[in-house]
Structures are given as structure tokens and as C-alpha cells.
Symmetry: C2
Subunit: 161 residues, 2 copies
Amino acid sequence: MTPPTPTPEQSTTSLANEAWESLLLAHTSLMKRFISENIWMELSIREYDVLYTLSKCAEPVRLGDLQRNVLLSQPALSRMVDRLVGRGLVQRQTDPTDARGVLLSLSADGVAAQRRVGRRHARSVANAMTTVLSRDQLIELRAICQALATQADAQDRRSRS
Amino acid sequence: MTPPTPTPEQSTTSLANEAWESLLLAHTSLMKRFISENIWMELSIREYDVLYTLSKCAEPVRLGDLQRNVLLSQPALSRMVDRLVGRGLVQRQTDPTDARGVLLSLSADGVAAQRRVGRRHARSVANAMTTVLSRDQLIELRAICQALATQADAQDRRSRS
DNA sequence: GGTATATATATGCAAACGCATGAGTTTTGT
DNA sequence: ACAAAACTCATGCGTTTGCATATATATACC
């Protein structure tokens, strides 16, 4: 039944699963650690994620675009944006070229809040990563994860159409 | 103000943050993709995560041990276990050596459910990972993420004591 | 040995989430 | 040009989450 020595194919399959599992464990461990840092009074880490994503966008973006970077359902993200708009951190306007959509951008307060929290969080991240990984490993990890993210996004878009 | 060329230290800091950001993006993209697979009718992906963790434990484990692998608050995990016990997938017994604690293990139904869902999920994972990464990259990713996870856990335990 | 402190899990409650669906807008097909 | 289908976001509703705290047991200190 089982082959005497694992074929390359089988081996690669379990290797792939082990790699994903370790990515998940790393994500969970580090997330817990970052969340436990005492810097999330004005912004939850999920809210920060949204503000950070917006801060990287030169122009206002659609809710749908924002959703690609956040692990939330569309209604949950919609209401989260609601709350952020209510707190004056995000600006929402209907897209002039498509009245179905909304365009989102950071307000001045939103930029300031993102930067305040971001500075402290970035220190925490850098500390956690650099005490474990070498420069080369950081570069390798970045390359691998970028490849994973872009490929998964591409396949996501393909399955939508 | 800004140095003419970035010092190695600064460079490593931003590199570390870029690596973490790409890990986050990869996690989000892949999670969305896996969640969208049509295999989560009997078990949500979070429930599966708990059952999978239990399936790897040779002996019953404490709620607190389980919590290290799951990104849930202690009360949320406690209630999730409640529901899984209610559905007959997990067995809960008070720890004989410490009556405060509970020992958790999979029931026969729990093992079966984990395997049913796990087989299909593992195929999905293997497919997503191997179409993007080479064997060497998978090995490298696994090593790096294992290092990150174990180190973060170690520091977590240290900060508790 | 008995009280004080620490630890492990459970529960009350308000906030946030996901699913199903609704409302409004654009695109397609004839 | 108009009806039908598709798309984008918002809302109703039951479920799940996190925070604060309660409960129960174990450990430490005197």
C-alpha cells in the first residue's frame, strides 16, 4: 500500500503542509505577543491593520480593495469602517465614477493615530523578528511570503471572474 | 537629519517590518483562499484548528496548553470547547492531579471529523503552496517559521513568570 | 494549620462577527 | 432603449468574541 520510500510527490505534499502549519504557528505566536504589548488603547490591532493599509494608499480606495488585505467579511469591514468614520479617523465619499462604491481615505487624525501606534508597533515587530532571524533569513522570508501573497491574490481574482 | 546612506541597523529594522508585513499578507491571502474552499460545512476553520491541535497531542491537554496554539481569548476558547463537547467531538474531564484544570481530548467522532476535513484541507494547502514555492523554499519557510514560533512562545512563557 | 495570594477555568454582558439578504447602481443582451 | 443580470455596499439577525469578573482549587507564607 504505502510505497517503500516516499515518492518525491508525497514528500512535497507533506512538506507543503508542514510549511503552512509552521507559518500559522508563527503567525499565532507573534500575533499574541504583539497584541499583548501595551500599545492598543486607542486602536485595536484590527483597526490598526485597516488604518495601516489605508496609509499605504496614495489615493482613496474602494471598500472592496481594502477587503483584500483584511481577514474580515465584507459586512464586518463595512461596519468597522463605519466606526472609524464615526471616530473621525477615516473619510468616506461615494465614488464619482461609480455611485455604487465608496472611496475611503485617512483623515488627518487617522494619519496621526496610525503613526502614533505604528511607531511603537514597528519597534516591537523589529525586536521580535531580528532577535530570531538573520538578515538573510529576513530577506528570504519576505521574498517567499510576497510570492505566496501575490499568487494567492491572483488566484482569488481569477476565481471571482 | 537622515543619514546619507541607511545604517545597517535601520535597514534591518525596516527589513524586519517588511518581512512581518509580507508574512501577514501571505497569511491573509491564503486563509481567505482556504476558507473559500467548500469543505467547512461540518467544522469551521477555527474549530478545525482546535481539533487538529488536539489530534497532534498523544495525551489529553489542558485548556491553557491548547490556547497557545489558537488565536482566541481564554473565555472564547473555553466556550468553543463547550460547543465541541456538546457536539460530541471533544471529551472534557477534570485533571486528577489539579482539580482546577480540565483535560481535553478528541472523541472518536472528533478524530473522524478532523480526518475527514483534514484530508480535503491538506490537499488544498499542498496545492496552494507547491504551485508557488520550490522544495527548497518550502524547507526554508518551514525552518524560519518554526524558529519564529518557538522563540515567540519562549518569550511569552518568560513574560508570564 | 490557616489566611493570603496565585492559578485555571467559567460566566455575565456589551461589542463585533458572519451569513443571508436588501437597496441602489451599473452593465449586458436583445 | 429597456428588462435582466451583475456588482458594490449596507442592514437584520443569530452567533461568537473579548473584557471584566466570579468561582474553585492550589500554593505560599507566617
